[in-house]
């Protein structure tokens, strides 16, 4: 194993050496251990070059050990289950893992794109805007090339085979981050009886405790953390979410968490220990890509109080070539050594402006590496830890800075100079030290992302040189390092405080929690060191990177300022500082400080940019959850759906409903089936499932008054048992919905609405009743789902119903057109409506949906004697268009008044109704408004495409003025030619005139304007 993993230490770490794991990186076979991240395993295997930078394609190595990693962006997995844009530091190693760098072609070691680095001076901030502007017509080409070279990773081309889900959760206290402060906060809250959710992005809780050398209550940090987690697990109302990143803090204390359930394990072995109670990821063994196990889960949490304990990020220092592979965060070096037992280098130089990096020097020396020097910019050096480092024989260069590093694919040496304290005066290095690792600490930035997302303010803390959370805007508090606490002692105590305060605010009695005993280490204060000067000035010296991920350097910020950008938000956008997955984790403070320095302002004056979700990248899959494929949108089915399916009817989607489109017989296509269905209705009888119509029961002492205000016709004049076609208008006078309404009693009406308008109309009516006219006593009840509606239409419809056995006479005198009767039909209770949407003698059977299928089957059986045809929505459309009956939303579009439709006869002059006044607006009185007309194609062949624009004459120059458009268009089987409905400017007075239909790819076709009723214009057939 030692040969296979040259940088693996012989002992220590939280890895399981009994479980070796094979994986591949850029096609090369590698080996690691259970407990490794991809990053630690890569370091163990000596893979120091993991990617190329975004723009300049410079070689890059691993910098950090967690969410802040800017370089090690990986494509993990292959084929449909591949995941782009993962940070190697956050990918748990599993057997068979396949990882690829996302930049570098043909290989990451030899990248042709690295030519960009040679011309780097020409590719400064904003080059994109300046270079690709000319000639303008080339932009489309430029854009394609830029897009191809931008971004990290590739989205798989195939559908994601994984399963994702959403989970709604509520809690008293949500603790984000399971390090020392988060654990104490959760413990304080849980012991007080609060419902707690503790989420941490890593697979085990403990955060910095997992690699700390301090002892807590006399135990190693990691062991102490295990004890706390065990206690939390015993609190029934405490939900522990490992591998869960709180990535968004939204309004009203709503937070979103992405949990990796099995996506972290290629051949998953979801850790049952860590699985939250009741959320057993059963079947996880099936693994990623199988579609069986839940890969990732989105938690949507409403928390009454939130404790943010996300810790802090160690900042890089800004010097020449500070992006070379082998330059790492000092704290990450410590983490790799102590948690993963890998040694990132053999001969290190540590560069710092604060005390924490001394710990790294000690860790390195203890692990057997040589620490060539600690370079400390502070003239007075470090505190207690500095003494310990000296005791180990490590040379300390106080009052010195690192100006540059040598090496391209790997650091080879560091140049050191005496520090004058002036960031911009040129400086000449006096010392050169050979090394293969540079561990850097520029101080610590609290992870204030969620605090800021929540709308919280930040305050600059000069003593530790960082923004710390100030005023909260929602019910949240910060704790620990994320709250600006530096030492472990303070972090633990701050966690107890935050947890206790959270439960107090909830009115719970806080349980007594004593912070554990930890020794305090004396530190010397940090020194401001935002840019290390170089031998040449900032524009000519080797690149000094601020944002590794976006290739933003000191020179870029200077350029932005030179070009007039002053506001930090503008500079951010011009230079891409803090863009991408970095979201300012490493880069922001250094960038703002350099900007402040250039502008001669203080850092608080310059301020910060806005932090936005997501804190770390979140997969599209977890955002979509279950709402994919058949569950994307509900499919609403009528009670007759299974019959339609068995009959082989293709479905038309109408809103969420699936309605039978047509019922093909013997291989008929749409046209053949529709022609047959239409003729069956016109000549004998057909039946249609009209169940999707909206149905509303309206009753009460004031129901007539209410409906008079809603509908345009005289509702009060309707006698019980009568039906009427009714329309309702919006306040703007435009047609909103239509349908047949029936008066079933003196104070009792039954309203029908369009399929698509059902829910909106009920809301509309309730809104008027509840908010505008509460004095009206009316109750509305939706019966849409309860009643199924079977339309039986055609000259033989009466005989068919009679043959079923009907308890009431159906003749013309007893049961005239536009009336309603309760009846017993085929032994079942129904309500019969004599209404017609086809223009034929027709009945609509309304029946309890539980019995609708039985009724439909009886109708079909009895209909055989009349060669009955079940018909679908297409035939319904043809039949109604032949009669000139409109469909709201097809022949109207929200800009059409009833006058435009020729429905003046429906507008009562004797009463007021919604929208009436608007009809008198001058625009509504214009003679040249678009009006409903019929159209006949001059060639008697062409079915005009719906939406076709109409023009007055041919041969006009473009843009040709349009005078109308086609709204409905079909071939009429019973007339033998095409028909169309259209809205034409001033159309009603233009009957007989010819206009032209503009058709794609052919000459405009002359069409004649006619009345919109093509069949039985006198309406005799429905009255028989």
């Amino acid at each position: 194993m030692a040969v296979a993993q040259p940088n693996r230490l012989q002992e220590g770490g939280r890895i399981d050496r009994s479980r070796p794991l094979a994986f591949s990186f850029n096609g090369k076979a590698c080996e690691g251990f259970a407990g490794d991240t991809l990053a630690s395993a890569l370091i163990a295997n000596g893979e120091s070059l993991v990617g190329r930078s975004f723009k300049l394609r410079r070689p890059r190595g691993i910098v950090g050990s967690g969410a802040e990693e800017p370089n090690a962006i990986m494509q993990v997995g292959e084929g449909a289950a591949a995941q782009p844009n993962l940070l190697a530091t956050q990918v748990e190693l599993h057997d068979g893992l396949v990882a690829h760098s996302t930049k570098g072609w043909p290989t990451v070691r030899f990248d042709i794109g690295a030519i960009n680095d040679v011309f780097g001076r020409m590719l400064g901030a904003g080059f994109y805007y300046k270079t690709f502007m000319y000639p303008r017509s080339w932009w489309k080409l430029y854009e394609r090339l830029i897009r191809a070279s931008a971004g990290f990773g590739r989205a798989p081309g195939e559908p994601d085979p994984d399963t994702y889900e959403h989970m709604n959760a509520h809690c008293d206290v949500l603790v984000a981050g399971g390090g020392p402060a988060g654990l104490m906060a959760a413990l304080a809250a849980a012991r007080s009886g609060a419902r707690v959710i503790l989420a941490d992005e890593q697979h085990e809780f403990g955060g910095s405790l997992l690699d700390c050398t301090d002892s807590i209550d006399g135990k190693p940090g990691a062991e102490w953390a295990t004890g706390v987690v065990a206690e939390l697990r015993n609190h029934t109302d405490c939900t522990l979410l490992p591998r869960s990143t709180v990535f968004g803090y939204h309004d009203y204390n709503f937070l979103t968490i992405a949990e990796r359930c099995s996506s972290h394990a290629g051949i998953a072995h979801a850790d049952a220990e860590d699985a939250p109670q009741g959320h057993g990821d059963g079947g996880a063994a099936a693994g990623r890509g199988s579609g069986e196990a839940v890969a990732e889960r989105l938690w949507r949490v409403r928390a009454r109080q939130v404790v943010l304990a996300q810790g802090s990020f160690e900042r890089p220092l800004v010097f020449c070539n500070n992006d070379r592979p082998g330059v790492m965060q000092a704290s990450a070096v410590s983490t790799y050594i102590k948690r993963y037992a890998v040694l990132p280098g053999r001969r290190a130089v540590v560069f710092t402006n604060n005390d924490s990096a001394y710990r790294t020097a000690i860790d390195l020396a203890t692990a057997g590496a040589e620490v060539a020097a600690i370079v400390d910019s502070r003239p007075g050096g470090g505190g207690e830890l500095a003494g310990q480092a000296r005791d180990l024989g490590i040379p300390v260069l106080e009052g010195h800075v690192m100006t540059d590093v040598a090496g391209r694919h790997r650091v080879r040496g560091a140049s050191i100079a005496r520090w004058s304290g002036d960031s911009w005066a040129s400086i000449t290095p006096s010392i050169r030290i050979d090394c293969d690792l540079v561990a850097v600490s520029g101080g610590w930035s609290p992870a204030v992302h969620l605090h800021s997302q929540a709308g919280g303010r930040l305050a600059w803390d000069d003593s530790q040189l960082g923004f710390v959370p100030a005023q909260a805007r929602q019910a949240h508090d910060s704790a620990g390092a994320g709250n600006g606490r530096r030492s472990l002692v303070e972090c633990l105590a701050d966690g107890v405080r935050a947890g206790t305060e959270a439960v107090s605010k909830l009115g719970l009695k806080p349980a007594a929690v004593e912070p554990p005993v930890v020794a305090l280490v004396g530190e010397n204060p940090i020194e401001a060191l935002w840019r290390v000067p170089a031998a040449k000035d900032a524009d000519r010296c080797p690149k000094q990177f601020i944002d590794f991920q976006n290739d933003t350097s000191v020179a870029d910020i200077r350029l932005a300022v030179r070009e007039g950008y002053r506001n930090v938000e503008h500079v951010k956008r011009y230079t891409a500082l803090g863009f991408g997955t970095d979201q300012g984790k490493l880069a922001n403070i250094n960038g703002m400080a350099v900007l402040a320095d250039i502008l001669g302002k203080s850092i608080p004056e310059v301020g910060t940019t806005t932090f936005r979700p997501a804190y770390t990248p979140v997969s599209f899959g977890v955002g979509a959850g279950e709402s994919v494929g058949p569950l994307y949108d509900p499919v609403r089915k009528t009670a007759l759906h299974e019959w339609h399916e068995a009959a082989g009817a293709p479905m038309e989607v109408v809103g969420q409903w699936h309605r039978p489109w047509y019922f093909p017989r013997d291989g008929e296509d749409l046209h053949a089936a529709v022609a047959r269905e239409c003729l069956a209705v016109r000549n004998s009888v057909g039946a249609m499932d009209a169940s999707t119509l909206g149905k509303i029961d309206a009753r009460g002492p004031d129901v007539v008054e209410f409906l008079e205000r809603i509908y345009t016709h005289n509702v009060g004049r309707m006698k019980a048992g009568r039906c009427a076609y009714g329309i309702m208008l919006g306040e703007d006078g435009m047609l909103m919905d239509d349908g047949v309404m029936a008066r079933v009693g003196e104070q009792h009406f039954y309203l029908t609405t369009t399929t698509g308008g059902a829910a909106n109309v009920l809301n509309w009516l309730e809104r008027w009743l509840q908010t505008e006219w509460p004095e009206l006593d009316v109750y509305l009840t939706s019966l849409t789902e309860h009643y199924s509606t079977i339309a039986v239409a055609g000259p033989n419809s009466r005989r068919l119903l009679e043959s079923l056995g009907c308890g009431i006479p159906l003749d013309k005198e007893s049961f005239p057109f536009m009336t309603v009767r309760p009846a017993v039909l085929a032994g079942m209770h129904v309500t019969l409506f004599r209404v017609s949407f086809s223009g034929e003698l027709a009945f609509e059977i309304n029946i309890d949906s539980n019995r609708a299928l039985a009724m439909w089957q009886r109708v079909m059986e009895a209909g055989q004697a009349f060669d009955i045809a079940p018909y679908g929505t297409e035939t319904m459309h043809v039949l109604r268009a032949e009669k000139g009956f409109i469909i709201v939303g097809q022949d109207t579009d929200g800009s059409v008044t009833p006058v435009d439709l020729g429905m003046n006869w429906l507008l009562s002059k004797e009463k007021d109704f919604l929208g009436k006044r608007s009809l008198r607006r001058p625009d509504c009185l214009r003679e040249d408004r678009k009006q409903l007309v019929g159209l006949l194609s001059s060639d008697e062949q062409t079915v005009l495409p719906e939406g076709t624009q109409l023009i007055e004459e041919t041969g006009q120059p473009t843009p040709v003025p349009m005078c109308g458009h086609v709204t409905s268009s079909y071939r009429s089987p019973c007339l033998g030619h095409p028909i169309a409905l259209a809205l034409v400017a001033g159309g009603r007075k233009r009957k007989g005139e010819t206009v032209y239909a503009a058709l794609p790819g052919r000459e405009p076709l002359p069409v004649q304007i006619v009345a919109p009723t093509f069949y039985d214009p006198k309406g005799r057939r429905q009255h028989v």
Partner: protein
């Protein structure tokens, strides 16, 4: 064909192909023989409330988001709206009795039996599965037996009620959404093991 044998709730095709895990932590039963009445009534109308209570033989729940159980189950849907769940064979009689009792009041009673499907969701992971699609707090302390809500479950509107501590919950969904909702439940409950069945309640 008699009316009772012709009765279909519409989930028969779904149930015919529904999967059944050997070890189900979630049990979903389609209750085939329920009848439903929708009642609109001003709950401030004491006499009407009293007369309704008398016919029902159990109180009309007046506290928001509660339900009462007796011969029937009555769910509070709003300050002037209730859903009454009863046996399918008793619905017609209850409609006529209640209609008669309410004739002199401003009230609306509608038989909506055909429009609703009742699902009984139980098992130790029942609340967890429901929480995947429902934004309400379903913790037993917040939503215990006797409580109900008209709310969203996945992308359907449902009446959700906690029945007992098993836990058992009733989900009443609009008929046209029932197939979708069952498919969603099957998906959401799959990792927990789910068993679908049809029962008749007496």
């Amino acid at each position: 064909m008699s009316e009772s044998t012709a009765r279909r709730h519409g989930l028969e095709p779904f149930l015919a192909s529904a999967e059944s895990a050997a070890q189900a932590r979630v049990e979903i039963r389609v209750v085939s023989n329920r009848g439903f009445l929708n009642l609109r009534l001003d709950q401030g109308d004491g006499a009407a409330v009293k007369d309704t209570t008398q016919v029902l033989g159990q109180p009309l729940p007046l506290a928001s988001n509660t339900c009462t159980a007796g011969d029937h189950r009555v769910y509070w849907l709003g300050p002037d709206e209730w859903l009454i769940e009863t046996g399918a064979d008793r619905a017609a009689r209850l409609v006529s009795e209640l209609s008669e009792a309410l004739a002199r009041y401003h009230a609306a009673l509608n038989d909506v039996s055909g429009g609703h499907v009742a699902l009984c969701v139980s098992g130790i992971d029942a609340r967890t599965v429901l929480a995947k699609g429902c934004t309400l707090d379903l913790h037993p302390r917040e939503f215990g037996p006797g409580q109900c809500a008209r709310t969203g479950l996945a992308k359907a509107v449902v009446v959700l009620a906690a029945i007992d501590d098993a836990p058992t919950c009733t989900v009443i969904v609009g008929r046209s959404f029932s197939d979708y909702l069952c498919r969603w439940l099957a998906h959401a409950a799959r990792p927990h093991g789910v068993h679908f069945s049809m029962v008749r309640e007496t």
